[in-house]
């Protein structure tokens, strides 16, 4: 069955925008999606991965290396040389991390088969290697064990997986867009971990009956004939694809003017965000969305548009204050820039 088209997802504009921003600039450090079950979180992430154009991968490479010039980043032995230096196309990887995943499976471990057959000590890549250049999606990340979340965020930010265990010493590239989802009512993520996610969005089930009917209609159409349904939305999907490609091209040349940086700092101190991650993410995300929109320069409106998703998970929680973080940010925006 063909994937569900990204553009056919009803509503959820903020989540879609956050995913696009992360696709343009993966260094933003992952997207955390808060929301109930059955709101289309994983469908959106999966659809975006499916939408992106196939990537070129060296034949035989177990680490998803691109056929770019320059020194190989694979750990030894590089299996790509066995592939004859050719490359092939493959879809952008989308790895769905299961809740019970063990560290072995995530990081990679000693290749049991090789060890038994030849007595060789060879690293068997884990899920992190598989997610290289793609998406790593973790449903219910708040239920994942803390040490795994730690490790995942670390790799997501550094883009490199370093394994020092079982007598192995391996490092390989693992650049991916981390998408975590969870329902805060079922347990919260530690603030230290939350802070390391670049963007956080809140999704709600669409309440409007019309929207829900539209969702049912589209799902039924997709279930009935996914190919025809995909064709129906191909044009819209193409438009998004072009937008991402343009954004990626423009990103490097866009600079953030000083007055926007001052705005970012002002906003951060107004809402009381600790640490510098808030400012940095604001800056990157503003640049990313300016690139997505094809703007010539980064402006205040870009900054303000992404401020809620860049900051809402960094505010200090006050359980007596029932005001949501989003409202607090909006209030600060209205106060300082209104």
């Amino acid at each position: 069955m063909a994937r569900f088209p990204f553009s056919a997802i009803v509503g959820q504009d903020e989540m879609k925008l956050a995913l696009l921003i992360a696709a343009v600039d993966p260094s933003i450090g992952g997207v955390m999606v808060f929301g109930d079950r059955g709101t289309g979180k994983s469908t959106a992430a999966r659809a975006l991965a499916g939408l992106l154009p196939p990537i070129m991968v060296m034949d035989g490479c177990r680490f998803g290396c691109a056929p770019a010039a320059g020194p190989r980043t694979c750990p030894v032995p590089c299996t790509a040389s066995a592939g004859g230096g050719k490359a092939h196309k493959q879809p952008v990887p989308f790895v769905d991390l299961p809740l019970g995943a063990t560290e072995d499976r995530v990081l990679g471990s000693l290749d049991l088969e090789r060890a038994l057959r030849t007595g060789e000590k060879v690293f068997e890549p884990g899920l992190l290697a598989r997610a290289h250049r793609g998406f790593l999606y973790i449903d219910e990340i708040n239920l994942l064990e803390d040490h795994l979340v730690d490790l995942l965020l670390d790799v997501a930010v550094s883009g490199e997986n370093v394994v020092e265990r079982e007598g192995l010493s391996v490092r390989h590239k693992a650049k991916f867009v981390l998408v975590g989802s969870g329902n805060p009512e079922e347990g919260e993520l530690r603030p230290q971990l939350l802070d390391r996610f670049g963007l956080a969005v809140e999704v709600r089930t669409p309440r409007a009956i019309d929207d829900r009917v539209e969702i049912m209609r589209r799902c039924a159409a997709h279930d009935g004939d996914s190919v025809a349904f995909g064709a129906l939305w191909a044009q819209e999907d193409d438009k998004i694809l072009r937008q991402i490609a343009r954004g990626q091209r423009k990103l490097a040349s866009l600079e953030v003017p000083d007055d926007v940086l001052v705005d970012a700092a002002t906003l951060c101190s107004a809402v009381g965000v600790d640490g510098l991650r808030g400012e940095l993410t604001l800056m990157r995300a503003a640049r990313s969305i300016a690139a997505l929109n094809g703007a010539k320069t980064v402006r205040r409106e870009h900054l303000l548009q992404i401020a809620p998703m860049a900051l809402r998970h960094r505010l200090r929680r006050d359980i007596l204050d029932e005001t949501g973080s989003t409202t607090r940010i909006e209030r600060a925006i209205a106060e300082h820039f209104g």
């Binding site: 069955m1 994937r3 109930d36 079950r37 059955g38 709101t39 289309g40 994983s42 769905d96 299961p98 809740l99 019970g100 995943a101 063990t102 560290e103 072995d104 000693l110 049991l112 088969e113 060890a115 038994l116 057959r117 030849t118 007595g119 449903d139 219910e140 239920l143 064990e145 803390d146 040490h147 079982e166 007598g167 329902n183 009512e185 079922e186 347990g187 919260e188 530690r190 709600r204 089930t205 309440r207 009956i209 019309d210 829900r212 009917v213 969702i215 049912m216 209609r217 799902c219 039924a220 159409a221 279930d223 009935g224 359980i319 007596l320 029932e322």
Partner: protein, 586 residues
């Protein structure tokens, strides 16, 4: 009160539930993959009958497997059979249960105790069924008794039906459904007004997730197919609402009066795909969505009110029952390997196994009996498994109200009780922490510790007097609780207070505000899902402490005349049962 034609005087579920379960499995047999599966709550002969009914409609060549709760990851998803590989000297692959059951039925006994990692895998497999083509139908056998003993929500979310058969005694045989059944594909997709009716019903019942809505659509079509109709009619929608939406209701629908005068607005942007109009099937004056809603209401589970009242209907993601799992054989501080067989969650320590086998290779190579094999010959004795040290303990956090009002009366008693618990805790190697609030603030007098002497000293030094900053105390307790949880331990809170707060969260005096803040903080505790016990230490029980306990969803224990020993007895009975994960692996 919900009008429930199925409930008889004794409150036991009437044959209607059984009939619905029969209907559900029949529909499931029509669209096994699209509907995902069924959860059957309550053991007993009724459930066996329902399962037999399903079995009758599943082709015998399709696999039907049981998922034991102790299955390990390799067996579930397939992989290398370590023990067999080492014995054979070559890699022996085993097929995973999930691959074996593809296209068939997977039945999960004791689903309410299913481990998180297993439910995560199953949920993922169900999600990916469409793309991998290796889907299966899930039967969750739920033997839970308590309201919060439920199968994991991640699985309930991905299957269409939930049937409660508990307490069912009047057994009937499966009625003959669908003698004129046609294929599901022959039924036209749902027209827009039918979708609208289902969406409105889901909204009225507070079913937020989209998945049940999609299941309801398929169910309606399957129901039509069962009746031999090629288009979906009102009875089909009613059945879908009753079977799929009603068990998931999180609120009672608004009164029909308010609902009736606003029929869903006719949507003007509908594509003219479907022209058949179920309006003409409308028999009485009520709009069809009301009838569908009524059908659903009749099937709302009896305890939904309790669940809604306790606010926990949708909260526990872990399916309750097994308690908070704080560790496994896969985590913790690694220790050195030890001889043993891998499997059942115990993992092989490969390097250590190799190390154990290597010295014997020259001798083993000379053995005549060996077949052709790998370079290294293993014996069972060589196998080493990994060990981890895990200490998963309960931390009892005492939050002692040391304000003037409480101190005068009972502080000495509270201190005595804490000391007794400390002694017990020392024996059981559980930890304690102590928080005191008085004057204008709260302090952690004792971070989680096993040190009896430190605890005693901190207690002895605890002064009394001043205002009651209850909100600050509760907030601090919650923060400490979060820190404890993040270290893989289970906090349990004991509040010793009279509940009469008079210092607000910001430190200003004032009874009404203080009270409001305290209740808000208590609700925060409840939202965090903490186990708590409120011991009322006022000379005679007052509503304050009880309300506080209610807001915190804590057990409430008035102790008008208690001495320390009674207090301790109460506490020991309120302590959670020792959990399986707590046995320390040495």
């Amino acid at each position: 009160m919900i009008p429930d034609p199925n409930a008889n005087a004794s409150g036991e579920t009437a044959p209607g539930a059984l009939h619905d379960a029969y209907l559900a499995v029949r529909l499931l047999a029509l669209a096994p993959q699209a509907l995902g599966g069924i959860a059957l709550r309550g053991g007993g002969p009724a459930r066996d009958l329902v399962i037999d009914a399903l079995r009758a409609h599943v082709p015998p060549e399709q696999p039907w497997r049981r998922l034991p709760g102790h299955i390990d990851d390799d067996r579930l998803t397939g992989g290398t059979d370590v023990a067999a590989s080492l014995a054979a000297g070559r890699v022996v692959h085993q097929r995973g249960l999930m691959a074996e059951v593809a296209g068939g039925v997977l039945s999960v006994p004791m689903a309410e105790r299913l481990r998180e990692d297993l439910s995560g895998r199953l949920a993922q497999a169900l999600d990916n069924a469409a793309s991998t083509g290796a889907g299966f139908t899930l039967i969750l056998l739920d033997d839970g008794v308590e309201t919060d003993e439920r199968p994991p929500l991640s699985l309930l979310e991905r299957i269409a039906f939930e049937c409660d058969l508990s307490g069912l005694r009047a057994l009937v045989d499966a009625p003959a459904f669908g003698e004129s059944a046609i294929a599901l594909e022959a039924v036209a997709p749902l027209p827009d007004d039918a979708l609208m009716i289902l969406a409105a019903t889901a909204e009225a019942l507070g079913v937020a997730s989209i998945r049940p809505l999609l299941f309801a659509g398929v169910t309606a079509r399957a129901h039509a197919a069962l009746a031999g109709r090629t288009s979906v009619e009102l009875p089909d929608l009613e059945a879908a609402a009753r079977l799929v939406l009603a068990p998931r209701a999180t609120r009672l629908p608004p009164e029909p009066e308010s609902e009736g005068d606003q029929p869903p607005p006719p949507s003007d942007k509908d594509e003219p795909r479907q022209n058949d109009d179920p309006q003409d099937q409308q028999q009485d004056g009520a709009p069809p969505e009301d009838r569908v809603l009524e059908a659903a209401q009749a099937a709302i589970p009896r305890d939904v009110l309790d669940q809604i009242a306790s606010g926990r209907a949708m909260r526990s993601a872990r399916g309750g029952g097994t308690g908070r799992r704080t560790g496994s054989k896969l985590r913790g501080r690694p220790l050195s390997a030890r001889p043993g067989m891998p499997g059942g969650g115990v993992r092989l320590a490969l390097v250590d196994t190799l190390r154990a086998a290597i010295p014997w290779q020259p001798i083993r190579q000379r053995e005549p009996s060996v077949r052709e094999g790998g370079m290294i010959r293993f014996r069972r004795d060589d196998l080493r498994v990994r060990r981890f040290e895990e200490r998963s303990t309960t931390v009892t956090v005492f939050c002692v109200d040391a304000s003037g009002s409480a101190a005068v009366a009972r502080l000495a008693e509270a201190k005595g009780a804490v000391e007794l618990i400390l002694a017990a805790a020392y024996v059981k190697r559980t930890e304690v922490a102590l928080i005191a609030f008085r004057g204008s603030g709260a302090d952690v007098l004792l971070p989680p510790t096993r040190s009896l002497t430190r605890a005693k000293r901190a207690l002895a030094e605890l002064p009394g007097g001043g205002g009651t900053p209850l909100a600050t105390g509760i907030t601090l307790a919650r923060q400490l609780g979060e820190a404890i949880t993040s270290r893989g331990r289970t906090p349990m809170f004991v509040f010793l207070t009279d509940g009469s707060a008079n210092i607000a969260a910001d430190g200003t005096p004032g009874r009404p505000q203080a009270r409001e803040d305290a209740l808000a903080a208590a609700r925060g505790m409840a939202a965090a899902g903490c186990d708590a016990l409120v011991i009322d230490i006022s000379p005679r029980p007052r509503p304050d402490a009880e309300q506080l306990a209610e807001a915190m969803r804590a057990r409430y224990l008035p102790l008008p005349m208690a001495d320390a020993r009674k207090l301790q007895a109460a506490l020991v009975t309120a302590q959670p049962e020792p959990r399986p994960a707590q046995r320390a692996r040495r």
